[in-house]
């Protein structure tokens, strides 16, 4: 009885068309990324959490429609099933994305978080396409944020420098109890862009826009003032707050208004400070910038960037003394 079953099974098997065994091809996943110049470069180092690593099962597969050769040189025939560890991802050509506009930094294609790159998936070789795969900008294989340090190091901002109040030109220094105006040179108060950095198909910029302006003012009394009991102090003089409309003048930002008559010592309002007695003012401008990361037309706001410019020192004298010596 057993032998009969066995013979029967063999007989049935012989009635089937001849089969060819599947082929298993060892290999590694590769990603062909389209660089910014349009050419492809191959990458074989793929982070474990990347979609390029996790997509699909361990092997891709195709059924041959004709004879051919696998990536490891194995020949196959029509109808043969090939299993290959060699997933291949090849990026297509992106649409144009233009240039960034520093004056309108968030203009563009939308949020970087929504950006995707488009790949065609092949199995084992370029001859066997499987489909399309969209990969987001946060994928560790492609995330342009990995280049932020490079971009930040590449930003060449114009340093904010204190512009002399007109009173300095007129009297040789600041005048006791007369208010002075703190401002920076106009080139330091304008939208600026980093140089372009390209990486794995991204063309990237940092776009910085002036956000706020403060001055750190340190007053040091002269020996004579100190003898009279005047003490030094340090104040932060707010000048431009975020969202303020800023009026620029050809020589300074913000433009200097008429400050009027003598004021009490100290901070007298936005950008305005008055010395109590003879001594020295040391003034350091602190400018904050809104920062937008621009990558292939997509944008993302980053934390504001604060930058202290070089310190400037100004002599402070009494107007009477100035008249006497003059």
């Amino acid at each position: 009885m057993v032998g009969l079953l066995s013979d029967s099974a063999i007989a049935v098997g012989n009635d089937l068309p001849p089969t060819v065994p599947p082929i298993y091809v060892p290999g590694a996943r590769v990603v062909d990324i389209r660089e910014s110049d349009g050419s492809l470069h191959r990458y074989t180092t793929i982070p474990t959490t990347s979609l390029f690593r996790t997509h699909g099962s361990s092997e891709c597969t195709f059924t041959a429609t004709g004879s051919g050769t696998t990536s490891d040189g194995t020949t196959y025939v029509a109808g043969q099933v090939v299993y290959s560890e060699r997933w291949m991802f090849v990026e297509g050509l992106p649409e144009g994305f233009g240039e960034p506009n520093p004056a309108d930094p968030t203009a563009g294609l939308g949020a970087l978080a929504d950006a995707v790159r488009h790949f065609i998936v092949f199995c084992d070789s370029y001859q066997h396409p499987l489909g399309l795969l969209d990969v987001g900008s946060r994928d560790p294989m492609l995330d342009p944020r990995q280049q932020l340090t490079v971009l930040r190091n590449d930003v060449q901002l114009v340093a904010p420098t204190v512009v002399d109040d007109p009173i300095v030109a007129e009297w040789g220094g600041w005048v006791t109890r007369h208010p002075g105006w703190l401002a920076v040179q106009p080139p330091a108060w304008r939208p600026q862009a980093s140089n372009a950095v390209t990486w794995r198909g991204w063309t990237m910029y940092l776009l910085v826009t002036p956000r706020s302006l403060d001055f750190l003012v340190e007053y040091t009394p002269s020996v004579e003032s100190a003898v009279m009991g005047i003490t030094g102090w340090t104040e932060v003089v707010a000048c431009v707050a975020p969202g303020d409309a800023v009026v620029a003048a050809p020589a300074r930002v913000p433009a200097r208004p008429d400050l009027g008559s003598p004021r009490p010592p100290g901070v007298n309002g936005p950008c305005t400070v008055t010395a109590p007695a003879a001594g020295t003012f040391t003034v350091t401008p602190i400018e904050a910038y809104d920062v937008v990361f621009w990558a292939n037309g997509y944008t993302e706001r980053l934390d504001p960037y604060w930058w202290a410019g070089p310190s400037s020192s100004f002599a402070v004298g009494d107007l009477a003394s100035v008249n006497v010596t003059g």
Binding site: I33, D37, H41
Partner: protein, 281 residues
């Protein structure tokens, strides 16, 4: 955003010889250099892309252990090129190597039937460089202006090696080693010197075709890795002209990887060795 894959043209036909690959095919070149090899065709490597030579820690993508079995088992039948070839001009608009380099653009090289630039570096030694993407032909990378300095330095370094080996006796004292290899070629020379002492020397025989590709891994403005699936028809001969032990005639596909670094305005080879999977396409 949409995308598309370009298929620019197709490989030209012609009467040149195609590489024939397959398991179990005859290994064309045989020179066992790997320590501990038990012999056999799958462990045969080329003298000209010797993966046992490792300059330093090979790092990503470079496998110091061996040529991949598929590479070593590949073979080709090649019609050797004889006599000087006419110099040709590159198609307009494509990146090319410097005109004053130690190479000249020629029409073809043995075993190459895909479109691209073929440079002759010395008699019997060529480099094939694709100039446009053609996925149907298996071509992803092609020569761009950005990669030209890398490829030129790579070829200069390879030329130093082949010029040294392909002399009878081998000439290992060229100052060019120091110019193109960060280690002065010491890793190569440590392997070549015993051969030179025995009077062995290289013969390009059926020819060697370098097929370098700059990969994306590790590519920065100051670093690059060049891999090549080389068509290697060279042999090593003994002092009396016989095939050196382990050497055989024919053409094998061998994989190699060269790490390049830009320092002081010049690209140099900083690591080199065998590689895996380069010939998988």
């Amino acid at each position: 955003m949409s995308s598309r894959i370009t298929h620019r043209g197709s490989p030209t036909g012609g009467d040149r010889v195609r590489v024939r690959r397959g398991r179990g095919s005859t290994v064309a070149l045989a020179l066992v250099l790997l320590a501990g090899c038990s012999g056999g065709s799958s462990e045969v490597v080329s003298p000209f892309t010797d993966p046992s030579v490792i300059a330093t820690d090979p790092g990503d993508g470079i496998d110091p252990s061996a040529t991949s079995p598929s590479d070593a088992s590949s073979s080709t039948s090649v019609t050797p090129t004889s006599g000087p070839q006419p110099t040709v001009t590159a198609p307009p608009g494509v990146a090319t190597l410097a005109a004053d380099g130690p190479w000249r653009l020629v029409e073809s090289a043995p075993g190459v039937d895909e479109p691209g630039l073929v440079y002759e570096l010395m008699p019997g030694l060529w480099a094939w460089l694709p100039v446009e993407e053609d996925l149907d032909a298996g071509i992803g990378w092609y020569l761009t202006e950005a990669d030209v300095p890398v490829i030129e330095a790579y070829l200069q370094a390879r030329l130093v090696y082949f010029q040294a080996v392909n002399q009878k006796p081998m000439y290992l004292d060229s100052p060019d080693w120091a110019e193109w290899y960060a280690d002065g070629g010491s890793a190569y020379l440590s392997v070549l010197q015993p051969r030179a002492d025995r009077g062995e020397y290289g013969d390009l025989d059926l020819g060697v075709v370098l097929r370098p590709v700059v990969v994306g891994d590790g590519r920065t403005p100051n670093s690059a890795m060049v891999v090549s699936c080389t068509l290697d028809g060279g042999v090593i001969l003994t002092a009396d002209g016989a095939l050196a032990e382990g050497s055989a005639r024919g053409v094998a596909e061998t994989s190699s990887a060269f790490k390049m670094s830009l320092a002081g305005g010049a690209w140099k080879v900083v690591e080199y060795g065998g590689a895996v999977g380069v010939c998988a396409g």
